[in-house]
């Protein structure tokens, strides 16, 4: 796969990617975290990570290209990490769709509650569930104890 990044923010080279998706406008330096959080390491397909590509909008940015169907991607997780990322869906070597991300109403097993008094700290097999309680402030709270998630997102 062609790993060549493109310095022009508007004309994104997708190289030899026939089918798959390109995650564009990732904050520089955050590609590896997204690679892990989206569990791209578990996919049996080609993945290219481009670091520090030039961007008119952002100065520098990271890009991830993945040669597998878009259905494999958990857009909710990506929306939670950074909803400013652009998702380009590629088919037959062309961008056929640009998907915008939004903050998911609910995220499961992506972040963990840090409240030591929360039931998630002792109950076996309990999913870590966070709910979006305030979209304006991007506040997520634990479904069980309502503690606010205070970890740093991909910002």
């Amino acid at each position: 796969m062609n790993k060549q990044g493109n310095s022009d923010d508007n004309v994104l080279s997708i190289g030899a990617l026939r089918e798959g998706f390109v995650l564009d406008h990732i904050r520089a330096g955050k590609a590896m975290r997204i690679y892990r959080d989206l569990k791209l390491d578990k996919l049996d397909c080609t993945v290219a990570i481009i670091k520090n590509a030039s961007s008119h909008l952002m100065g520098r940015k990271d890009i991830i290209k993945v040669a597998c169907p878009i259905d494999y991607l958990d857009l909710d997780v990506l929306g939670f990490i950074d909803h400013n990322i652009t998702v380009n869906v590629i088919q037959e070597g062309r961008i056929i769709e640009k998907r915008s991300l939004h903050l998911p109403a609910r995220i499961v097993n992506v972040i963990a509650c840090k409240n030591p008094r929360c039931i998630t700290s002792i109950e076996q097999g309990l999913d870590q569930v966070f709910l979006l309680t305030d979209e304006a402030t991007e506040t997520y709270r634990c479904r069980y104890c309502e503690t606010k998630y205070s970890g740093k997102k991909n910002k």
Binding site: N115, R117, C118, I119, T120, S121, I122, E123, Q124, G125, L126, C142, R143, Y144, C145, E146, T147
Partner: protein, 309 residues
């Protein structure tokens, strides 16, 4: 049909709460009418930490309705000591009882139970998170004393930082028009900013003060006193400094309006002097009685039962 549970005081709409309080008020007037509503039904009290008052209030409520009770009163005497999960416990209890009240030190435990339960689950207190039946008790007491909520001036005094009953009560009262709050606390125990912000966003007038005196009690309809809890402090010195910060005694009561009722979730320590107990405005023991009435109404509601016409 999936059972209905009670996890938070806001689970019931204002209209539903009104109907619930109407039933509780009728129970107060005609207790005999309700003496057999729960014949043959069983309440499981699953208390993973001791809370004698709340557990006995639930048990009294079920017994008053003609039902029976079973359960445990500490984690040591339950299967939790053997490492059983909350999910498994409630699955098993669903086979033994018709309704359950759960007190648990971990926040959200009753919610987990409700997700796996075939019977209604009532949150009887989960750590510092929610204690909805206390809030329902407080609401019923206020309505019984004042006849309504609209436009009431509510004073809250003591530990407003850690006191979950205070936060829940403010949230519940904020749904009624014209409510205003006077918040009396030491600087260190002021209400958390998220509660203040939520009230401000709703446009609810609030006044914060450190003094419990004539100026802050003036015009109040209700003064809700709270206890400063030792377990909330990391060092003993801070606790000792705070615990007797407010003492409501008969001398202070002389400065209070004639129709300002005193409420307290109990147990009290020093914050209300025993010489106030005989004041007709002291309603904290009546409040405990209302707690039984509202729990009776709640059990009936969640079981879908009513007295025969």
């Amino acid at each position: 049909m999936a059972p209905r549970h009670l996890m938070s005081p806001l689970d019931f709409s204002v209209d539903e709460l009104e109907a619930l309080m109407d039933v509780a008020a009728d129970i107060e007037k005609n207790p005999e009418k309700y003496a057999h509503v729960c014949d043959g039904k069983k309440l499981a009290t699953l208390f993973y930490e001791p809370s004698t008052r709340t557990r006995l209030s639930f048990e009294a409520a079920m017994l008053n309705l003609g039902g029976k009770v079973l359960g445990f009163s500490s984690a040591d005497s339950s299967s939790a000591a053997k490492g059983e999960s909350v999910a498994d416990t409630i699955r098993v209890i669903s086979c033994y009882a018709d309704i359950a009240a759960m007190r648990h030190p971990k926040e959200g435990a009753p919610l987990v139970a409700s997700l796996h339960s075939r019977i209604p689950v009532i949150n009887a207190g989960d750590g510092g998170h929610q204690h909805p039946t206390q809030t329902l008790t407080d609401l019923l007491t206020i309505r019984s004393l004042k006849g309504h909520f609209d436009g009431l001036k509510i004073g809250l005094c003591g530990d407003l930082k850690f006191g979950r009953t205070v936060h829940s009560l403010m949230n519940a009262l904020s749904r009624y028009p014209g409510i205003s709050f006077t918040l009396i606390s030491p600087e260190e125990l002021r209400i958390p900013s998220y509660v203040r912000d939520a009230m401000k966003a709703l446009g609810i007038p609030m006044r914060e003060d450190v003094r419990l005196d004539e100026s802050t009690m003036k015009d109040l309809d209700i003064l809700y006193m709270t206890r400063v809890q030792r377990e909330r402090f990391f060092n003993e010195e801070d606790y000792i400094r705070m615990k007797d910060f407010y003492i409501l005694d008969s001398e202070k009561m002389r400065l209070a309006p004639k129709d300002m009722y005193i409420l307290h979730p109990l147990p009290r320590v020093n914050e209300i002097s025993v010489d106030v107990d005989n004041d007709p405005r002291a309603k904290y023991f009546a409040q405990a009685q209302y707690g039984v009435y509202i729990r009776m109404a709640l059990i009936m509601n969640l079981l879908g039962l009513a007295p025969e016409a």
